[in-house]
Symmetry: C2
Subunit: 332 residues, 2 copies
């Protein structure tokens, strides 16, 4: 790999001059510019962004830390982050923390060390708060309430999501909708639960729920438990879209039809939901916007230092497909 010194030697100038040509940080004699450009061409020199960042404090890298790279919802957000990042000349690095505080700390350390321009994280464990506090980088959090510790929070309106999915089931005629409740340590889990309970109370419906993880390997057990505890359930609010595959499997084994015998509403709005059979009615989070906005906040932070938009709650939308059907017969 050619280095700046090689280019300088070949062009017969100092490396300071080469640096100035590359960065346009000062005027350089036209003749020398030409020689430097040629030397860069010949040697195939590409400046080492990381070495450069030692001084500049910016490597044009955005870190994205997720609890699991098997979570398709978070990965779809990642795609959006990457797109927005790349359009602005940034790169995205995806890190799998595995809900392991040591890994989370290690990756935050690493991103800090490489002078990343910011971190987007779904911070599961509260015990990395110290790590985050010590981290001088802008941090956007995707799954917590706003706090002075973070630069910004980007989330969709989970309370609304809890509400509209429940309301929809009730409108469709369900009298015993059961919530697969996400972990209450996440604000998303808490807010959705609140929305669900509020709607139930407003309609004089008994709130029913069982606890579930977001990870897909918990789905089968959960669904079985759900059906045993609430055999009269006529609707399920799934913890997320992915889990619905497990739900289908269990229901099918027990001969219960969807939506005739029991209705289902998913959550997230990942592509997978549309491919399911029957296609999944679900609460669509604005995945693209969550990702792009998160990336934008970090990029703006670097370039303008504008500290606005601390808390961003984006609207969700109900997408009615085939797993719910109004008794009145208005199928979407």
């Amino acid at each position: 790999m050619a280095q700046i010194g090689d280019v300088a030697k070949l062009a017969g100038v100092s490396s300071a001059t080469v640096s100035r040509v590359i960065n346009g940080s000062a005027k350089v004699n036209e003749e020398k510019v030409k020689r430097v450009m040629e030397a860069i061409e010949v040697t195939g020199f590409k400046p080492n962004e990381i070495a450069r960042s030692l001084y500049k404090k910016s490597s044009r890298i955005i870190g994205y830390i997720v609890p699991s790279i098997l979570n398709i919802f978070l990965n779809e957000i990642g795609r959006a982050i990457e797109d927005e990042a790349f359009q602005n000349g940034y790169k995205m690095i995806l890190c799998n923390s595995d809900e392991n505080p040591k890994k989370e700390a290690a990756y935050i350390q690493m991103l800090t060390a490489m002078n990343a321009d910011g971190i987007i994280i779904t911070a599961n464990n509260d015990n990395l708060d110290e790590e985050i506090r010590n981290c001088p980088l802008p941090i956007v959090v995707l799954d917590k309430e706003a706090s002075s510790r973070y630069t910004a929070v980007v989330q969709s309106d989970n309370y609304s999501g809890g509400r509209i999915s429940t309301e929809h089931l009730l409108e469709c005629g369900c009298r015993h909708p059961v919530l697969m409740r996400g972990p209450q340590k996440y604000s998303s889990g808490r807010q959705r639960f609140l929305g669900y309970v509020d709607v139930c109370n407003e309609h004089g419906i008994q709130p029913l729920f069982i606890d579930s993880q977001f990870s897909s390997n918990d789905g089968l057990r959960c669904t079985q438990e759900l059906l045993e505890r609430f055999p009269y359930a006529d609707g399920i609010l799934a913890v997320n879209d992915m889990t619905v595959l497990s739900i289908y499997k269990v229901l099918s084994a027990r001969g219960r039809r969807v939506p005739e015998d029991i209705m289902i509403v998913g959550y997230d709005g990942v592509e997978l939901g549309g491919l399911m059979n029957p296609a999944l009615t679900t609460v669509m989070q604005p995945i693209e916007e969550i990702g792009r906005l998160s990336a934008k906040i970090i990029i703006d932070q670097v370039e303008d230092k504008n500290p606005d938009c601390r808390e961003n709650i984006l609207p969700v939308q109900l997408k009615v497909r085939q797993t719910t059907r109004s008794q009145a017969g208005n199928e979407a």
Copy 2:
């Protein structure tokens, strides 16, 4: 963030001594060791791995570049890489190249700049060969034939995979199995195709295939085309597990039952296949082993410089579930 100089000052020694204490690279007076340790504790100093790597040429980072972070098969491999890496004190960085040569080049550049210890890549485009040639890092390729350009190739036995899936369909009584053929620029796509064609010829069966992408959003169109061109098809060899969701959807819309009217064999062996309804018969790639071995090769390369195991073809295995059934009735 505390730096080595802060620690040195607090302990009343030079930063060289601090470095020696941290790395154990030379003997240091016990009294001073103690003072340094205390100073590290007090300041919370963590050495900057990246700055360190400028000199050491190793940052204990492994890069994993995939064409899409929405590909669950590659992500499951990523999980295995990460596990193996972390167990050995390495970190894994996941990069999404989007099949875009510019992004691929950018990420290879970045990993080189940060002195990563190696790159694991599913290299789609041949046009980044130059980038790879110029890259001084060990490179493990997951989806190409072996070549002197790469440190090693890790793949499963795609030819066998093509064979056993076809043989299984024939054993189950299929007379018109159709292959959804993966892109022929990938060795996996080519090898599976070869296996399929060979088995067909051995049994006097007419090979039938349509071309497909690995990405899931092509599945619906592909399946429709398949059924139109080969309405008499009684078996489908899916391009991968994920696509089977689309296949189910199309078949169900046309009232064709699985496996009674048409059988399906998937490919990859991702967790998703077991959650499908009906559960998917598929060719299991040794996902865990592919990932761990790839990581090991890079780690060994760093620590021992042993350049063995250039080409690694791992065995595949047929997992019979519910989408295939022998006419004789031996359901697994």
